[in-house]
């Protein structure tokens, strides 16, 4: 290799040099590009890329950044949106996060993202930086983050590697989120051996803003300044040895590149406050967080969403590791950084705010109208591209997909084990099982109080946060997924996930408004996985349309597989609901002696894919049937009865069916109940075991004050929705008494419910 640039630290591969040396081999394969993708880069540029350009295209055209395998399917989320669904959407799919109008000039932005693989390698830091990344997405919309949630999936609870992951991931989520002052208001914990080598760490963040504060990631206004601020840039995320060999040091080897990223929650907390101060004083024109693909992503996205051009001097980037090459600086995924566009008049004000918060910044360049993203290294041009070709024109694949041949066999294999004779023991077993046990050991490691606006959190059905202290206007959020249902039927599984999150939000009393999702799947190169993915997206998009709630953003995580074995398809769905006043939120447990307990909905014999079948080691058949009209009616009943003060408690039925719902509602405040299920069995033509363990959808239990019973019944009748009085709250007897079948003292139930996690991880 030629080394004529003796005065420089690196063999800078300039654009000029690239033009002169068309034959020079480049490590595109090592950087993850396919041959046809590399050829396309050459075609776009009309020459070979420089090392820095290659770095940019390779990271931006990766699966993670370009959504090349999923794009063709994700379009349905946009295509299947009606005008009516768009009514409350201020910003739709495509930006860092969607923004929803919740009234009174307030808006909410929320999104869920995955950090699965990094969390397997280094659980604490992987989970921590997952929270950090999603929170920066929320800030970059102009919002104050107000809460986080963490849907998690681990391998078998008794696998020797599980404690490492549980301890690391939970303390990472807590360590980062707690330090940011963001209440954790909910999530999920599921144990299943399919996630053994691929735990799922999804993180959701939600933020609040005034309509006029919405910020977008675009660089407009020729002559406006581009600034990078926050943490310094290190070798994070570049991974192992530098493959950009043509860029390596003249005389020495580059120092090592970290295998994992370490989060600095303190830096991020300061970044939040300092960005909010920038927004409040209208100091930034456009802003973008730095996540995957770092500066490559921020510059190319800002430029292509704005006036189309940007000029950057890369040596201005403040480095943590001075041995980084230009390409590495462009690829680095160092955390806690932001990029903003600032008018020349606001430069001084910007710097004053940075100084106040002691945040480092560097001016990198300015916005141009040339349509080109030009990056220089010490005055020499190392990148000269149309930013759109980097950010938006990545490859798009129509990957082949095919329905798995094994699916028919699995679907035909219905759960047929005999009903247990001892229902009391069965309920105890269920409530102590890894997926149904109390998650307190985990959620007690999260701050749910900070900010003073949390109206409901764990273990209630949805997290509820007040937005406006004057009016009580607020939001509810729930995330759900059932990998087993999706395995049995990915189309229905995705719809069921949406239905459950929707139902949870309505159970808390909020009106469901919008959706975010994180689609966790195996390898898209496996046609069977690709089929699961395609079916899930189709199902979710269809169900969103039917329920009238638009997808506002989300994330796709592929390649979650160990060897040839993929995880269950796991589309995690988050639903956002709105409250006119959070004071009327409905908790999931009853408290008043003598209130009537009603079961809403119809119970069928639906045990396939259920928690009970899972406990018996069975997975086959079809997931529970879904009736979205019934879900809508149920939601309307729950929201209206909350609004009109007809119910004091409501808990939806999902995994574990009525047995789980009754147990949880009793344990919520430690108040018992007398329940009778015989009439229900007769009405729905089922046996007591099915009544308790079936996972039929569109069901909930509510507790109704005596004075409201007539009104409540009238409302159900008017809506033609099945309900049945199944018992009364019994504050005298500290027991769940299912008459004629069993009595479970609450102390015993609580003990069984709460002991499981401490036993394995305490």
């Amino acid at each position: 290799m030629t080394t004529e640039t003796t005065s420089k630290k690196f063999n800078i591969d300039t654009v000029e040099h690239a033009e002169q040396t068309p034959e020079q081999p480049l490590p595109w394969a090592e950087l993850g590009l396919k041959e046809n993708e590399y050829d396309r880069v050459v075609e776009i540029l009309g020459r070979r890329p420089t090392a820095a350009e290659l770095a940019m295209y390779s990271v931006m055209w990766s699966e993670h950044c370009s959504y090349k395998s999923s794009k063709v399917h994700l379009r349905q989320f946009g295509d299947k949106v009606t005008e009516e669904m768009k009514e409350h959407l201020l910003v739709g799919i495509g930006e860092n996060a969607g923004v929803v109008d919740i009234g009174d000039g307030w808006a909410v932005t929320f999104k869920v993202e995955s950090h699965n693989h990094p969390s397997f390698v280094e659980p604490y830091q992987g989970a921590a930086t997952g929270v950090g990344g999603i929170v920066r997405d929320i800030i970059s919309m102009g919002a104050r983050p107000v809460a986080v949630m963490d849907p998690l999936r681990f391998g078998a609870i008794d696998h020797p590697d599980t404690p490492r992951l549980v301890h690391g991931i939970v303390s990472g989520i807590g360590g980062y989120g707690n330090s940011l002052g963001l209440p954790n208001i909910g999530g999920e914990v599921v144990f299943d051996s399919v996630y053994q080598g691929n735990p799922l760490v999804n993180a959701l963040a939600v933020g609040v803003l005034r309509h006029e504060d919405i910020r977008l990631a675009n660089a407009s206004g020729v002559g406006n300044k581009v600034v990078l601020f926050g943490a310094r840039t290190g070798g994070d995320g570049i991974g192992g040895a530098s493959v950009l060999a043509s860029e390596s040091f003249d005389d020495a080897k580059p120092s090592k590149r970290p295998a994992v990223q370490v989060g600095d929650p303190f830096a991020e907390k300061v970044l939040i406050e300092c960005c909010l101060e920038l927004f409040k004083n209208s100091i930034v024109e456009g802003i973008q967080d730095l996540g995957a693909a770092g500066i490559s992503c921020a510059t190319s996205e800002l430029a292509s969403n704005g006036d189309g051009g940007m000029h950057v001097e890369l040596t201005n980037v403040l480095l943590r590791d001075p041995s980084l090459t230009p390409g590495e600086i462009l690829m680095s995924e160092s955390q806690e950084r932001m990029m903003a566009v600032v008018t020349p008049e606001n430069v001084a004000a910007f710097e004053a705010i940075m100084d106040k918060w002691n945040v480092e910044y560097s001016w990198l360049g300015e916005v141009t109208d040339t349509g080109r993203l030009i990056i220089e290294w010490d005055g020499e041009k190392i990148v000269d591209v149309d930013p759109r070709t980097v950010a938006h024109d990545g490859p798009v694949y129509e990957r082949p997909y095919s329905r798995p041949v094994w699916l028919d066999g699995v679907q035909a294999d219905s759960f047929s084990a005999e009903a247990p004779t001892d229902l009391r023991a069965a309920v105890l077993e269920l409530m102590a099982s890894p997926n149904m046990c109390s998650k307190d050991w985990i959620t007690n490691q999260y701050d749910r109080y900070v900010q003073g606006n949390t109206a409901l959190a764990m273990p209630d059905d949805a997290g509820v946060v007040r937005v406006d202290e004057e009016t009580g206007l607020g939001i509810a959020l729930s995330t759900d997924a059932n990998g087993r249902y999706s395995y049995l039927n990915p189309y229905d599984g995705a719809r069921l996930a949406l239905a459950e999150a929707y139902r949870n939000v309505a159970t808390s009393g909020a009106k469901p408004m919008a959706v975010t999702d994180c689609l966790n799947f195996g390898s898209p190169e496996d046609p069977e996985v690709m089929w699961q993915f395609a079916e899930s997206v189709r199902g979710l998009a269809d169900a969103c349309q039917e329920l009238g709630v638009p997808v506002t953003g989300g994330n796709v995580s592929l390649y979650n597989q160990t060897g040839g074995v993929a995880i269950h398809p796991t589309p995690v769905v988050g639903v956002l609901g709105v409250f006119d006043d959070v004071a009327r939120r409905t908790p999931s447990g009853w408290r008043e002696d003598g209130q009537a307990i009603y079961l809403l909905g119809t119970t069928r014999n639906e045990l396939d894919g259920s928690e009970w079948a899972n406990l018996r080691g069975h997975l086959g058949g079809q997931p529970p049937a879904l009736d979205l009209d019934a879900e809508k009616t149920l939601a309307a009943i729950l929201v209206n009865s909350s609004r009109d003060g007809m119910i004091d408690a409501a808990h939806d039925l999902s995994e574990g069916g009525l047995a789980a719902a009754l147990s949880e509602a009793a344990l919520r405040f430690g108040v018992g109940a007398r329940i009778g299920i015989d009439e229900l069995c007769e009405r729905d033509g089922i046996d007591p075991f099915t009544a308790l363990f079936s996972e039929s959808q569109a069901r909930a239990i509510v507790s109704v004050p005596r004075s409201e019973e007539v009104r409540f019944n009238d409302m159900c009748t008017a809506r033609n929705f099945p309900r049945i009085r199944i018992g009364v709250v019994d504050a005298e007897n500290d027991a769940l008494d299912v008459q004629g079948h069993f009595t479970l003292p609450l102390a015993e139930l609580k003990e069984a419910h709460e002991a499981t996690l401490p036993k394995h991880f305490g």
């Binding site: 919002a143 104050r144 107000v146 303390s171 807590g174 360590g175 707690n178 330090s179 940011l180 002052g181 609040v208 803003l209 005034r210 006029e212 504060d213 600095d264 929650p265 303190f266 830096a267 907390k269 300061v270 406050e273 909010l276 927004f279 409040k280 106040k356 918060w357 002691n358 959620t443 007690n444 490691q445 999260y446 701050d447 749910r448 109080y449 900070v450 900010q451 003073g452 606006n453 949390t454 109206a455 409901l456 007040r466 937005v467 406006d468 202290e469 004057e470 009016t471 009580g472 959070v582 004071a583 908790p587 408290r591 405040f669």
Partner: protein, 258 residues
């Protein structure tokens, strides 16, 4: 100019005593402070006027009392409170508080800052179970003659949230004996020690009774609907516990009567 989100300063929550609004209570914000808005809200609900103070300033803005709120100032890096105690504003606070005049309350991280600044004895180390723990905690108010506890009857109990990772109070035996002997243990954990704190101590005061530090968070138990599910004073609505309010009314009443 846009409104700060979430909205602060306009809570619909009922104010306890309007006649206290003349009392100005400063709440210090360090980089990494988290519960400053919550402390300001608590002061407001109690009836006082909250004043935001910035750690880097040299001016106490004529406040009548100071709260150092919870959070992770400087990330709790090195030791909780270790870096914050050197803030310029801490000099003013130390000067005004050590003589016994300025009432100062340190909550959680604020308590840690006060011990690092030697305004209060002892220190906090990691919880004995090594985890962050968030729970509703029952406390015994053992000393109701401090600037911050006079609204409570001697020996009352309260329920307020506890949430921390480094909450285990430690001191040498002599200091502990001295604290006990002088009645300077203000709050003690009841119903089980959540973190291994020596002698179940949750909060202490200095010799003058003007400086109080405690690990649990009274500012999270001041507004119905957003507090703990229970109260030591009897049945409450869901999340209706407001047992922490007395801390804030104590200081306001004391100052207004001065």
């Amino acid at each position: 100019m846009t409104i700060e989100t979430p909205l602060i300063g306009h809570s619909a929550a009922e104010v306890v005593d309007e006649s206290l609004s003349g009392v100005r209570v400063g709440v210090v914000t360090f980089p990494g402070t988290l519960d400053d808005r919550d402390a300001l809200r608590a002061v407001r609900i109690a009836g006082g006027t909250g004043v935001q103070l910035w750690h880097g300033d040299h001016d106490l803005k004529d406040v009548d009392a100071v709260i150092i709120p919870g959070g992770f100032s400087y990330g709790d890096y090195l030791r909780a409170g270790a870096i914050s105690r050197f803030a310029p504003l801490m000099e003013q606070i130390t000067a005004a508080a050590s003589g016994g005049s300025l009432p100062v309350l340190g909550i959680c991280n604020g308590f840690q800052v006060l011990t690092e600044a030697h305004l209060l004895p002892g220190s906090m180390v990691k919880n004995n179970h090594l985890h962050f723990l968030c729970k509703d905690q029952r406390l015994l108010v053992e000393n109701s003659s401090t600037a911050w506890t006079s609204s409570y009857g001697e020996g009352s109990e309260i329920v307020v949230p506890l949430k921390n990772q480094d909450g285990q109070f430690v001191a040498d035996e002599r200091t502990l004996d001295e604290l006990e002997g002088e009645g300077r243990v203000v709050f003690r954990y009841v119903g089980g020690n959540p973190n291994g704190s020596r002698r179940d101590i949750a909060g202490i005061t200095n010799e003058h009774g003007n400086v109080v530090g405690l690990m649990p968070h009274p500012e999270h138990a001041v507004e119905p609907g957003f507090g703990p599910d229970s109260s030591a004073f009897g049945e409450v609505e869901v999340r209706g516990g407001v047992d922490g309010l007395g801390i804030f009314t104590s200081v306001l009443q004391k100052l207004v009567n001065k």
